[in-house]
């Protein structure tokens, strides 16, 4: 009896869903019959790009399931020339009509993207802007200024405008400069906050370990280490642990990797209290926004900055994605 009831209910539900889907599809089909979206991203060479690849594939799986008339092709490249070649293949062989690209280098990929756009491909550029913005229809990026500004404001407030800071930097790039200038810009307003030094550790755990060891040898009184990246923060913590230094009160990473967010959530390390979000999830958002806009035949806003937020114990849950590799 109940079996039958359940069966019927499922049938009704199923039919309802199917009808709803037909209606929805009909509506979409009116705007664009099918959308062939190409996604071109850097290959997974470190934690962050690993996250980019994972989120891109996540977006593909979810969106293709939700929209049967959407076909997403994800290509990863390990350098700018390879990415340019893949772009050509996407346009001529896969015949994409929309593109989401995370360019390796701004300058090197501007021309190849321009060629794609001339063939009526709708272009969304992610993270690194092209040198000629007329080659892109939309630009979606994380907020690098906030990436530097938020930790600076947090430190200034928490330590009442008085602290000794050492900082790590990534790889010399415009991206790193933007963060560094935002960070130092805020702290200039606080005469009692001293940035003792900032050195490159290449977004690399081992280099961060070495640079921190040397900072600890050189400076006897440090309050805060701005590691500027969660991978680097990992190396910093090990170096502090080894030197058994107790003067350091806080290590501030950056990007919101899952291990750091988990540490904040659990309160398991007294040195890690806060982080700033700069999640590789923005590639997911970019793909989703582009695909949905294209399916409806809409356009995206020319520039969309995905805000960075301060992650603390209170809101850490919203930034915790246990399945992501990063």
């Amino acid at each position: 009896m109940s079996e039958v009831a359940r069966y019927t209910r499922r049938m009704v539900l199923g039919t309802g869903l199917a009808m709803a889907a037909t209606v929805a599809l009909g509506g979409i089909a009116f705007a664009a019959d099918t959308v062939k979206l190409g996604v071109s991203i850097p290959a997974a060479t470190h934690g962050f790009t690993g996250g980019i690849v994972w989120w891109a594939n996540q977006a593909k799986a979810e969106l293709e399931k939700a929209h049967p008339n959407l076909k997403i092709t994800v290509k990863t490249a390990s350098g700018a020339p390879e990415q340019a070649n893949q772009l050509q293949d996407l346009v001529t062989v896969t015949k994409i009509d929309s593109l989401v690209i995370f360019p390796f280098e701004s300058a090197a990929l501007t021309q190849p993207v321009m060629q794609a756009k001339k063939k009526n491909v709708y272009v969304t550029v992610v993270d690194r802007g092209l040198t000629d913005t007329s080659a892109q229809d939309a630009y979606i990026a994380g907020d690098n200024t906030a990436f530097g500004r938020i930790p600076a404001e947090y430190i200034a407030k928490k330590y009442n405008g008085k602290a000794n800071i050492v900082a790590l930097r990534g790889i010399p790039t415009t991206l790193d400069n933007e963060r560094w200038e935002a960070f130092t810009g805020v702290l200039k307003q606080y005469p009692d906050i001293k940035i003792l030094d900032g050195k490159y550790a290449n977004w690399n755990r081992d280099d961060a370990f070495k640079v921190t060891q040397d900072f600890l040898t050189r400076f006897k009184d440090i309050d805060v280490v701005w590691a500027a990246d969660d991978d680097m923060a990992f190396g910093v913590l090990k170096a502090i642990e080894q030197a058994k230094r107790t003067d350091i009160k806080e290590v501030f990473g950056g990007a919101g990797s899952k291990t750091m967010v988990k540490t904040i959530l659990d309160g398991s390390n007294p040195l890690i209290r806060a982080d700033v979000s700069y999640s590789p999830k923005f590639i997911y958002d970019a793909i989703k926004m582009t695909a949905e806009a294209r399916l409806k035949g809409d356009k995206l806003p020319a520039t969309y900055i995905i805000p960075s937020a301060l992650i603390t114990k209170e809101n850490a849950k919203e930034f915790y994605f246990p399945d992501s590799p990063y």
Binding site: A44, H46, R169, K199, D206, F209, K210, D214, G235
Partner: protein
């Protein structure tokens, strides 16, 4: 001590003679030592903290990985070969051993036993990779540059795949059990420094006091002549790559407890540092002759440069690599050979 002072003549068929001349003083032989001493003086002058025991031990400990790999690399380069894959190999061994240890943690009771198994695995894996290089080079007749360039990509890609692009992290209990291998010390000297010392002494004895060492040098100076002299060239070459693989294994065993993790950036560019240490230390890139002591000094010198740069801020950080480049060239000049 190596039979260095004779200029790198193409054929060295008289083994007795260079040894006799080996005692003659040659200032160029001491180039790396002079370079290192000058750096130590500059470092102390710029920041008094440089000359503290703790800082020197920090530098020696972090040199240990590259240093141990350089000693293996020294043999390969003397025999006329090259290995570009060591950094990627270290990364893959690190990832592999962490995965193995994490998997064993459940079934094997004591964390110490798990760590021992992990270490054994690392050495075997290193030796295995090295021998595989050796086979491809000797039996497959492929240039070592190509073989190891190929595996450079393969090893790192496999690690990246295993790590899903992120990091492979050692379980906490194991991390605590394994930690002392990097962070512990014996008589005030950190464990990695002791291992580095032991590997250096063993390397020097092997190169200068055994038949194997002489064969390696003979092959490097003229492979044809060595073959005519009934040296089993293929076997000796195979063993040099195997030896380097084991050295990479040892270095990885020391590396893993430092951060307890392996990621696609692990061991990045170690191959260049190791090769630079060997050459700066006075080994001929063409093969035939080389020095273990020089290699050790070369490795220490390279990490002292970056240590000094970190301890001071007189030069723009943008120029760090340029300073390193100048010092490397200057030291190489100090120990140059006569034409």
């Amino acid at each position: 001590m190596p039979s260095a002072p004779t200029p790198a003549t193409e054929v060295r068929n008289d083994r007795a003679e260079p040894r006799k001349n080996g005692r003659r003083f040659d200032p160029h032989r001491f180039g790396p030592v002079v370079g290192l001493l000058l750096l130590l003086i500059v470092g102390t002058a710029l920041n008094p903290d440089f000359a503290t025991w703790d800082n020197l031990m920090n530098v020696l400990t972090r040199t240990a990985f590259i240093g141990i790999i350089s000693i293996g690399m020294c043999f390969v380069i003397i025999s006329g070969g090259i290995d570009l894959s060591v950094g990627s190999m270290a990364a893959l061994i690190a990832g592999g051993m962490i995965l193995l240890m994490n998997a064993l943690a459940g079934s094997v009771g004591s964390p110490v036993a798990v760590v021992m198994l992990g270490m054994l695995f690392a050495l075997l894996l290193g030796g295995g990779f090295g021998l595989a290089h050796g086979y491809l080079i000797t039996r497959g007749r492929i240039e070592p540059f190509i073989v190891t360039l190929g595996t450079l990509g393969i090893f790192r890609a496999v690690l990246t795949w295993l790590a899903d692009g992120g990091a492979i992290t050692l379980d906490n209990d194991l991390s605590d059990a394994y930690g002392p291998v990097y962070y512990g010390s014996l008589l005030g000297i950190p464990v990695p420094v002791w291992v580095f010392l032991a590997v250096s002494v063993a390397g020097a004895v092997l190169l200068n006091r055994t038949a194997f060492g002489r064969y390696v040098q003979a092959i490097g100076s003229n492979e044809q002549v060595a073959r005519f002299a009934a040296v089993d060239v293929d076997r000796v070459k195979l063993l040099t790559y195997g030896l380097l693989g084991v050295c990479v294994g040892v270095a990885t065993v020391l590396y893993v407890p430092r951060l307890g993790s392996a990621s696609p950036t692990t061991g990045l560019l170690w191959e260049l540092e190791a090769i630079a240490a060997v050459i700066v230390g006075g080994t001929s890139f063409k093969g035939g002759e080389g020095r273990i002591a020089g290699t050790v000094i070369g490795a220490v010198l390279l990490s002292v440069i970056s240590n000094i740069l970190n301890l001071t801020s007189i030069i723009s950080v943008y120029l760090n690599a340029a300073v390193q480049g100048c010092v490397i060239i200057a030291v190489a000049f100090l120990q140059r050979r006569r034409p």
